[in-house]
Amino acid sequence: MASKDEIALMGHLMRRAGFGATYDELQRRANEGYEATVEDLLRPEAHPPVDENVLYRFFPGMEGALAPPTNQADWVYRMINTRRPLEEKVALFWHQLFATGNSKVDNPPELTQQIAMFREHGMGRFPDLLVELARNPAMIYWLDNNGNHRGAINENWGRELLELFSMGVGNYSEDDIKEASRAFTGWTIAPKIPRNPLGRFYWNFEYRPEDHDDGEKSFLGHTGNLDGDDIIQIVVRQPATARFLARHMYNFFVADEPQVPSWNITPPRDPEAIDALVQAYEESDFDIRAMLRTLLLSDFFKEARFERVKSPAELVVGTAILAGNYNQPRPGFPALAFECAYQGQELLNPPSVESWHTGSEWIDGGSLVRRVNFAAGLMGNTTLPGIRSIVDGIREREANSPAELVEGCLELVGPLDVSQTTMNELLAQAEEDGYLRWETEEDARESEQRVGVMLALIAASRDYQFA
């Protein structure tokens, strides 16, 4: 049997390498062991993917859907129901890093396709992922590479590839941008059947040799007839790329960093952690899985509990997993996607190519109210199967005193560490009504309600906002 500490550490791992898990799952995984669970998470192919036959049978309107919320709902369904949690979390990581927005693309199914590409390639080698990204139709349109022609370059993709997707500002020249852009001329989208009135048709990548600049180019000290693949091979070998990627990974999986634009003037929070991730990247031939393994097994990761503000997707999906009422097709998934948007994270539509600002910037007066109302609403509803199982857990362990009630609830929802202030407030609430009693039906009903109130209070706490 796993100890409380082992279960708490597993809770940390599953919040970061997934979207959280029920206490039963944490117990099971903790019994299997931390390292075995990390390996399991790193090998998603050992588990079946989300069954798209079931998904599209019950939501026939989701496949190729016209509306952004429907595509967002498709993703939220997968986040909740995947048996490959790290694969899905990594897809969200790349969505935040390679931010592509529907505000311009105006083609939600193409963004859904891009996320599917992240799922497929997101834990592979970084150069392979960048090649897929460069050929991804939504990205090509988002950063105008379809307008990047031989003799008339458009620098948008070339610039962002270097500035936001690999090296970071200050590590290349304006000439490097121009030369990279020349190398990607001819990488475009095939003419597509227009949308409506027969549904959506997907874009396909097309290479047009007649539009490709075959001339000599000089890029970061390399000279020759470089094409897009060559540029990516040069980029991934730059020390700046390794550090930039490591810092993104640290910010997403370990602890909140300052916002990306300040990285060239603000040192990393934990330089040794960045060094470890850089080393993993370089020694593994640029393998993302190797970086993730180093990260998830490190002490700096294990010690960083509750050091990140949950993104809205993490808060919404994590709470829905605990509530246990979204684990099969049913109406209501678009509402969850809307909830993410109301809290400041409209999936598939980041505000710009720089993506969402994270950490404390997720929180403002409006978003905090939404977060609290949403989480407390679900967690306080004792008719939901996941909440019922927490109530049953409290009853089974006879956690009847006010202190036991608070402690039991905190354990079963996380386990969640709370500040002394929060603890005092929870205890004060619990003490108001004394011990839980289960002897009569009326007692049981009342106690069940009190557990629900305690769970709602925990969900409304400052501490619940952290992952």
Partner: protein, 332 residues
Amino acid sequence: MLTTVAAGRVFDYSYCIGMYAMAGQGFWSPQDMVLGPDGVVFVLSRGMEELGQRITRVTLTHDFQGQFGSFGAGEGQFIWPRSIAMDTATNLYVSDEQLHRVSAFDRAGTFLGSWGKPGTAEGELNGPSGLAFDPDDNLYVVDSLNHRIQKFTKDGTFLNAFGSHGSGEGQLDMPWGICTDREGDVYVADWQNDRVQKFSPNGQALRQFGEPGVRVGDLDHPSGVAVDSDGDVYVTDWANHRVQVYGPDGSFIATLVGDAQEPSPWTQTYIDANPDIVKARRRANMEPEWRFRRPVAVKIDADDRLFVLEAARHRIQVYNKEKDYEEHPINL
């Protein structure tokens, strides 16, 4: 191929009906249809979440005659409508997978009543999907998540049931579509088992059609089934995006993949009103538009015309089964 010739049969593509529309003239993720009298088709749209659920009346000559039904849990409303059937009095019956009930309407759309309650006991329903009437005007209901077929009178009195969860002969796994043939035998699209099973009216398993897979004659999550006057069996091979045709003995006959090279008049009007769409269509490879995408239901009329409904193209493709086709000289 607009004309498919195989095993002595000829299937000749004729035309298509419909287009996407959130409301009004068009369909949205249609799931089923019924061929009514006077050349009227009733098409059931699933919509998405709280929008688009309805029954559209359209003639075989593209005349939009209105719609009825809407989203909701109230009487005459739907949340997850799945199937529609017509009795001999030409009243319509609609299953709802989320509300676990069957609602009845007359042809004009007047709500007549509903029945069914959730559960697993005899006569209770869990995710009712396909509907089909037997020759005595009793209604087979595919009780999908209970993995069985139940038969009711039109007003919802339970008569009998057959099937259980599994992959053995006569067992079912999340069955979807259903039909009866002229002898009253029952055909069920056994969705998760990638096959169609034929049962006697009392539920005895008689024959299987298809194997799991993507090869010729295989099925991947079949959704709908129909039988023509010759006993040929048509299956919408949902995840393979095609229609598989089998002989009465279960032998494979032909594959239809969709041939809608000419848009329906509704679609053409939409295209003609949008010059950019006209331009884009002239530059693109249009073949994906002709082909079936998520075929969900197939129906046969008295003349053995074949109607295939596509959920993802919001369209019906019509084929004639030619009985007196003469081959052209192949050295032409």
